[in-house]
């Protein structure tokens, strides 16, 4: 029972970060119809920028997090401008290949710049866990969970309350109609990709200090992010949140009670099951007719 409680806490902590990862990916797919293979690399980029800020420039931890997120957005915007904008008319497959190429360039660029040795990011939180009854959790991870939740909430408000958010939602529903109604699709795409990238970089910046920073850290995370959005329904924002927590709990409980060997396989098996039974995911995005 104590073990189950601990797994529950761990699953929640894990799920929160997964949700953050999934939402950026699903947003980009929903609005732009782009499967973003650089998502994992932007995650790594966010982590490295935090490392650079804290360890190399000696900046404040929180300032470094914010800077890393902003730099991630800037990198995302330049990827959109350089690679995606010229490919707007291209088919979805070609765009995927370009993004895979970009991921290769980014990952090896990181390895070139930083070397392959994994780095730890110092953080201002105490290194001993908070203990409540049978359950323990690190203050840093609580902080990550809270910031993730705040980012998710802020993102919802952005979508719901701002002009750019409305433009994004309109494009999400139907790009042609949105364009007719005066939405500048080019700008919405840049903003969308920048925000999606910013969310990935923020996830990396938050999780970098929890785990470690290495050039290949984006690989597994990229795959996980796919799993999350497929679980929730590709292009569905609530789905990505639910999918993130679902994957977090499944991994944690299956890993704890069934087999740690297959821990990472459960997510993928779940996807194949979901796609076989319910191809549109748990929470399907609204279909576009036509």
């Amino acid at each position: 029972m104590d073990q189950a409680l601990q797994h529950l806490v761990n699953g929640t902590v894990l799920g929160g970060t997964y949700a953050l990862l999934g939402i950026g990916l699903t947003l980009v797919f929903g609005v732009m119809r782009v499967v973003n293979f650089t998502h994992g690399e932007l995650y790594a980029f966010g982590a490295y920028m935090t490392y650079a800020g804290v360890s190399l420039l000696g900046l404040n931890f929180y300032l470094s997090l914010a800077l890393a997120t902003l730099l991630g957005m800037a990198l995302g915007a330049s990827i959109e401008w350089l690679l995606l904008r010229p490919m707007r008319k291209a088919d979805i497959d070609s765009v995927m290949l370009v993004m895979i190429g970009a991921a290769l360039v980014l990952q090896n660029g990181e390895m070139w710049a930083w070397g392959g040795v994994a780095k730890l990011i110092p953080n201002p939180f105490p290194g001993t866990p908070l203990v409540v009854g049978p359950v323990s959790v690190m203050p840093l991870r609580l902080f990550v969970l809270v910031v993730s939740a705040a980012l998710l909430l802020g993102f919802w408000l952005l979508l719901d309350r701002t002009r750019i958010g409305m433009a994004m939602r309109a494009t999400f529903q139907d790009p042609e109609t949105a364009a007719l109604m005066g939405v500048r699709i080019g700008w919405v795409n840049t903003a969308t990709f920048a925000i999606g990238s910013g969310l990935a970089a923020a996830a990396g910046a938050l999780l970098g200090p929890v785990f470690m920073v290495s050039p290949t850290m984006g690989d597994l995370v990229g795959l996980k992010a796919f799993a999350i959005v497929i679980l929730g329904g590709l292009g569905s924002l609530p789905g990505a949140t639910i999918g993130g927590f679902a994957l977090g709990f499944v991994e944690e409980f299956a890993g704890g009670f069934v087999s740690t060997e297959y821990r990472d396989a459960f997510g993928f098996l779940l996807i194949i099951l979901i796609l076989a039974v319910r191809p549109q995911g748990l929470v399907p995005a609204k279909e576009r007719i036509g």
């Binding site: 761990n10 894990l14 070397g115 392959g116 994994a118 785990f211 290949t216 944690e252 821990r263």
Partner: protein, 383 residues
Amino acid sequence: MMNRRTLLLAGLAMPALSRHGFAADPIRIGMTQPLTGAVAASGNYVANGAKIAVEVLNAAGGVLGRPIELVLEDNKSNPREAVAAAEKLVLRDKVPVLIGAWSSTFTLAIMPKLIEYKVPMIVETSSAARITTSGNPWVFRIAPTSEMEAVAFAELLGKFDPPIRKIDFLSVNNDFGRGAAEKFSAALGAKGIRIGRTETMTPEATDLAAQITALRQSDGDTVFLTTGVEQQTLALRQAVEQRLGKRIVTTGGSFPDQLLANPLPPGNTSYHILFYAPWFPERAPHPQIAERYTAEWNKKGWEFAGLTEGFRGYDAVLTVAVAIKLAGKPEAEAIRAALWKVKLAGVNGDISFAKEGPAGQESGQNKPNVSVVTLSEGKTGLL
């Protein structure tokens, strides 16, 4: 970082220079390591160790009056590329001897090619038993097997207080991790220590909470942790987070260097089985050699922690140089014959090869030294 790049450039320029007429043609030594991909960090350490060994040797006049040239090829952390790299080294660069290939699978992938091309290889890191027992007479291993490591560790059991009574394992799910769990169980089981559970993790996993929570359920007092540096660090930190409350011993010879600058909270001491402890070069079997290696490494400004792994490349090159000197000519068959006769002092200790594997096709296996380093609040000590 800057250093690394200049070195790469220097590495590029070197073959060009040598072609422009030194007195004697260089003797080429081939090396393949994972320089990119999942395990690149450690591969680059080993490659760096080899590079400084070549510099040291050349500064002392080379071998047989000729300079040594290290031809380094990336195996991109996968077996297919390991084979491609080995074939390039043997067939295009015509090297008479190879060093490689870090992971056991990369080494095993290259091994049939050694028989095919009749070229000996010094195995510097791989720990799988099968490498020296499968009957490949071209393989000479200076790295210890998991079994040797376990047996050597068993001799040090008396130094632990409170004593080790029951052990569990947290192992990376590969040859290295599974091999260590098996051999340590056998070696320590023979000493009357009880064996608990074994949890495994994929090499790229970062969240180990499920495994550690499961280990907490065991009544063992010590967990043997076998994986690369990165996961060692993650596991040590997450063990604190999940209140594992057991002694942790890492195996395999790598050291979680990041915990020096970012130490675990007070009261957490971890134990690390190393083959070279760069903090105490004076305690190495051959202090002068160890100090020279350490000094050259630090001169480059490379990461200090890399010393724990870089010595593998350093010792491998020293071994090859002695073998070429004994052979009297840089030819594969002669070097192979000479390797059986080498006796030299390396960073890790004396290097010589004993026969292992089926009669008539034995591989060479060196018997290395181990030491256990403790880490507590960012400070190291020797057990």
